[in-house]
């Protein structure tokens, strides 16, 4: 099966929004390669005609009456935010200088 290179880990870290350090890249690449070698054994299973599963008890869509219920108060929600202003979440700029 495939293995994970240091470059792969750097790419995956970017996709995952993790600003990993060079030291972490070195360490994770080795460890993830080991883990991947171990988990790749799922490939040995003969499951061509086997359906995937995700719940012990088969459930169909769960529906409820479409009724208005109270939400959390705005201030209670904003109280947990790292930065809030004018009753809103404050976020850093989204576009770069040259955009």
């Amino acid at each position: 099966m495939s293995s994970i290179s240091r470059d792969d880990v750097a790419h995956l870290a970017r996709l995952s929004r993790l600003a990993v350090t060079d030291e972490e890249l070195d360490r994770f690449a080795g460890q993830l390669d080991q883990v991947l070698a171990a988990v790749a054994r799922v490939g040995e299973a003969a499951v061509a005609d086997v359906p995937p599963m995700s719940h012990a008890v088969p459930l169909t869509n769960v529906l409820r009456a479409d009724e208005v219920t109270p939400s959390l108060p705005r201030d209670a929600v904003l109280a947990g935010a790292p930065a809030a202003e004018d009753g809103r979440f404050r976020v850093p700029r989204i576009l770069g200088e040259d955009a």
Partner: protein
């Protein structure tokens, strides 16, 4: 006066109801013990102190007024720190949630409060429940009361240390791949993972949503059943919650303790420590498991060996599914709506701030799993990894189903070894993952499974696992209670009574 921290929940409930002790007395006894012992154990991340006394006072006043109270009103409880508690700090063992005061509470926290129980505090855990030793907590290690140089298991290791060390009469744990059962096993406790969907996940900080279940960690099987009945049952806030009544769990624990298992068929799983599958298992663990099976046979159970070859693939399947779901669940920590924000100095845009926040807020195991999960879900790899793992899950479930046509319960060791020394596996993911070998099959199939003490090996507790079909949690309690009663009677006391001086004078 009797030490109130040594009394089981069932008995505490009786004493409180009879007015022989007050809720304040019971709560203070536990808070005093936490103050004296938790410096060494590190079981708690947050202690409620005055708030707990206030809650206990309210119970005592209600009782004095003659209000009708629930049978467990006034019993203290500890919650693993991934149970969201309104206005009480909740971190999931992560720096990224340091200082967060949730604006709402989990269904199980609300149900415990409605039953009149008193919240003592929040217990330490591996960050986001990823680990088997509690060493992955961002807030320090927790120590095993049986030997302070060893881990208390994980990820619910704060809960196991608190209950085994008598810093709480019982506690909530959560189990994704074994995180209730394995810490219970290595600290001499009873821990039950309910059928998936039997206990609400609303307000539990998500790790792997198709596997996560909360459940009881207690000193007796009866106490575990009492807690399961308080927290379990349908919840409209959790769409995976099963809309069916819980089936007589406390009754099953009481019936089991009477010691009659005639007519019960027990299957010993070969792939979990049986012939040809003993690599990595300690001889002492296998010996205690054999003895436990002999006890069940002595109580009238019919014992057969059962083979489930796909169980060998449970570990690789789990370590694809859980990281995949985690990589998605943990995307919510973006430094905007709650928790930590790093690098917001005007020079970084939102993307950078997210990456810096997550880099600073997550520990190494969480990062490893997010990266692995992102890989397994990547275009071109999805079918080979996540898709294949979900199919292996079906194979494992089919083998359980086939086995349960011949037997009523399946049994195995809970974990291959006794508690391991702190520091020995923390930088070796593969060695750490092996602790979950026996607990993963029931997790992947969503089945109920209990760990009950089965004696000591080298002076450290060994756990015995009983697995049952979906929604047959009562069988776990019945068989575990029978084993517990027989072994307690044979040794003349409880296993926990052998704990070297409470919390160990190191």
């Amino acid at each position: 006066m009797t030490d109130l921290t040594r009394i089981d929940v069932a008995e505490l409930g009786r004493l409180l109801t009879a007015g022989e002790v007050s809720a304040v007395e019971v709560t203070r006894a536990h808070l005093d013990r936490i103050a004296a012992e938790d410096g060494r154990l590190g079981a708690y991340l947050h202690v409620e102190d005055d708030a707990a006394v206030t809650a206990a006072t309210a119970v005592d006043e209600a009782r004095a007024r003659g209000d009708e109270l629930r049978p467990l009103a006034g019993v203290p409880v500890a919650l693993k720190d991934l149970v969201v508690t309104k206005d009480v700090p909740t971190t999931s063992g992560s720096k990224i949630l340091e200082g967060w005061l949730p604006p709402y509470g989990a269904t199980i926290a609300t149900r415990l409060a409605d039953a009149g129980t008193v919240l003592l505090g929040k217990t330490n855990m591996d960050e986001f429940a990823m680990g088997s030793s509690t060493e992955n907590s961002a807030y320090g290690v927790t120590r095993n009361p049986w030997d302070l140089d060893r881990v208390p298991g994980g990820s619910s290791g704060g809960s196991s240390a608190a209950v085994a060390g008598h810093l709480a009469p019982w506690a909530i744990g959560t189990d994704t791949g074994g995180s209730i059962r394995q810490p219970a096993a290595v600290t001499g406790l009873v821990g039950h993972k309910p059928t998936y969907g039997s206990v609400s996940r609303y307000g539990l900080i998500a790790f792997s949503s198709s596997l996560d279940q909360a459940g009881p960690m207690a000193r007796t099987v009866l106490d575990a059943a009492l807690m399961h009945e308080v927290i379990g049952g349908h919840d409209h806030c959790d769409s995976t919650s099963i809309d069916a009544p819980l089936s007589g769990l406390v009754d099953a624990a009481r019936a089991g303790a009477s010691g009659d298992l005639r007519g019960l068929r027990v299957g010993v799983v070969r792939e979990l420590g049986g012939d040809g599958h003993t690599d990595g298992y300690e001889p002492g663990v296998l010996a205690r498991t054999r003895e436990a099976v002999e006890v069940l046979a002595g109580l009238g159970a019919e014992v057969v060996e059962v083979s489930c070859p796909s169980f060998d693939l449970a570990l690789p399947a789990y370590y694809l599914i859980a990281p995949s779901e985690a990589s998605s669940n943990l995307a919510r920590y973006e430094g905007v709506r709650f928790g930590l924000r790093a690098g917001d100095d005007g020079s970084h845009d939102l993307d950078d701030v997210m990456a810096l926040t997550r880099e600073q807020g997550f520990g190494p195991e969480v990062k490893r799993r997010i990266i692995l999960g992102t890989y397994a879900l990547s275009s071109g790899y999805y079918d080979a990894y996540y898709g294949q793992a979900q199919k292996v899950r079906t194979l494992i479930t089919r083998e359980f189903t086939a086995a349960f046509t011949d037997v009523d319960v399946l049994v195995s060791p809970t974990t291959p070894t006794v508690a391991f020394p702190i520091g020995t596996r923390v930088d070796d993911p593969i060695a750490m993952y092996a602790a979950d070998l026996c607990t993963l099959p029931a997790s992947l199939a969503g089945l109920p499974a209990i760990s009950v003490p089965s004696g000591l090996s080298d002076g450290l507790p060994v756990g015995f696992q009983v697995m049952a079909p979906a929604l047959a949690d009562d069988r776990c309690y019945r068989v575990a209670a029978a084993l517990e009663a027989a072994q307690d009677a044979a040794r003349g006391h409880r296993l926990l009574d052998e704990l070297p001086t409470p919390a160990g004078a190191a």
